[in-house]
């Protein structure tokens, strides 16, 4: 099993290690971690670079998710 670092900037922005099955794609990983949200509402990067949805994740990859819409305040 491969282990990747998942940084979810939706909400608290916490980082955690996640174990994944071999040949897990970015799209599958996103769905597993984020549930039924729309991927187009997020900027997804692997190892600090934009990626295609079907890219296969490998051990020690660093996946970052940043929401596109974030409401500021006053």
């Amino acid at each position: 099993m491969a282990k990747v670092l998942f940084i979810n900037n939706d909400g608290g922005g916490f980082a955690q290690y996640v174990e994944i099955q071999p040949k897990t794609t970015v799209e599958q990983f996103f769905k597993d971690q984020m549930g039924e949200v729309n991927p187009s509402d997020y900027l997804i990067k692997v190892n600090r670079e934009p990626v295609a949805a079907n890219q296969v994740l490998k051990d020690k990859d660093r996946i970052t998710v940043v929401p596109v819409k974030i409401e500021g305040a006053r």
């Binding site: 909400g11 980082a15 409401e71 006053r74």
Partner: protein
């Protein structure tokens, strides 16, 4: 930016992160555990008392409190563990990769060694067809609780009613991060500066109609007419003023001037001003120390009203000029004057009569 400069900046940033941010957090968590330990010690005292006196219900309650403190302590220990052994360890290589990512995502960037800020420039920001222009985002490299994230408009198109508001979520060049606050500061703490910048840019590109400094519907052009919040009259921005009491933006006709109190510079609207009935001096709600005349019941400033030292009644100078007693120098009203001598107050006249009767007895 060339690689030598990047290496220099990365080394500098790496030096700042552990010593300033992480050590402060470590101390805070240790301090919290010390407070919780004290709380546990106090609860143990209560627990012993309850057991000795066979208070079963109270014992149960204290046990629950102890459990809740223990879970707080466990969370604090976890936080310390995260600091000591972070999932995202910030190394020189990571910082350098972050600087490269910033360059790839946002193009040109700068670093301010003095203020310890990373700076990028956003693309043109347009919200609901209002062009707000480009912003320079100043991101502190250390999250110490005092730092702010600045967004300075390069060619500002501020709100017509307040030139400090250059974006619905930026006031006086500070971004209000709203929902993104925790994520942005956590990114900075972890040294994930490209994430922090991306979050800030996304905040600037999002309009939250429920919580802006000024709504986009009221943004207007600085040459547009805006309506007075007191009388609804349409006026130019230059003719408007902000009331420091009610915060309403009011026209010239509804502006009542500045508070006459020494060292107070509050502007007031006609709804919030208090005015002396005689001389017209104006005071804001903070310095409204006007006194009511007991005869005409109007309000007057200190210079236009006097109080009788005998009965404490206050009279404006138009209703009654108070006399000054030639014996004790006190001010007195007509009711407190000696019956046959208007230059002596009632109290002095009584004393004089007592003295005379004493002399007669002798």
């Amino acid at each position: 930016m060339d690689i030598r400069q990047k290496v220099r900046i990365a080394k500098f940033i790496l030096k700042q992160i552990p010593c300033e941010a992480l050590c402060d957090d470590f101390i805070t968590h240790v301090g919290n555990i010390a407070d919780d330990t004290q709380r546990l010690s106090n609860l143990n005292f209560h627990r012993r008392f309850c057991i000795q006196h066979d208070f079963a219900f109270a014992t149960n309650h204290v046990n629950q409190l102890i459990e809740s403190v223990l879970s707080v302590v466990a969370a604090e220990i976890d936080s310390i563990r995260q600091i000591v052994n972070p999932p995202v360890s910030t190394t020189f290589k990571d910082i350098l990769a972050e600087l490269n990512a910033i360059e790839a995502d946002f193009g040109k960037w700068q670093f301010d060694f003095q203020e310890k800020y990373l700076v990028i420039t956003t693309d043109e920001i347009t919200l609901e067809n209002i062009d707000l222009g480009e912003f320079d985002i100043y991101l502190p490299i250390v999250a110490d609780g005092h730092n702010k994230i600045k967004a300075i408009a390069r060619d500002p198109n501020p709100a017509a009613s307040n030139s400090d508001v250059t974006h619905p979520h930026v006031n006086k060049d500070i971004i209000c991060l709203g929902d993104g606050k925790t994520a942005v500061w956590n990114s900075i703490k972890d040294g994930r500066f490209s994430d922090a910048f991306q979050l800030c840019v996304n905040i600037l590109n999002t309009y939250s109609p429920s919580s802006p400094y000024i709504k986009l519907e009221e943004w207007g052009d600085s040459n547009d007419m805006i309506s007075c919040q007191n009388c609804d009259e349409e006026c130019n921005e230059e003719e408007m003023c902000n009331c420091d009491t009610c915060r309403n933006y009011v026209c010239e006709n509804c502006y009542a001037g500045r508070c006459s109190h020494r060292n107070c510079y509050n502007d007031m609207c006609i709804s919030c001003v208090t005015m002396c009935y005689h001389c017209g001096e104006r005071f804001c709600s903070e310095h409204d120390d006007l006194t009511k005349c007991d005869k005409c019941e109007e309000k007057f400033c200190k210079d236009c009203i006097s109080s009788c030292d005998i009965c404490d009644e206050s009279y404006c100078h138009q209703c009654q000029a108070l006399g000054e007693c030639k014996e004790c120098n006190d001010k007195f009203c007509e009711d407190c004057a000696k019956e046959d001598d208007s230059e002596v107050c009632k109290e002095c006249s009584v004393e004089t009569e007592e003295e005379i009767s004493d002399e007669v007895k002798v």
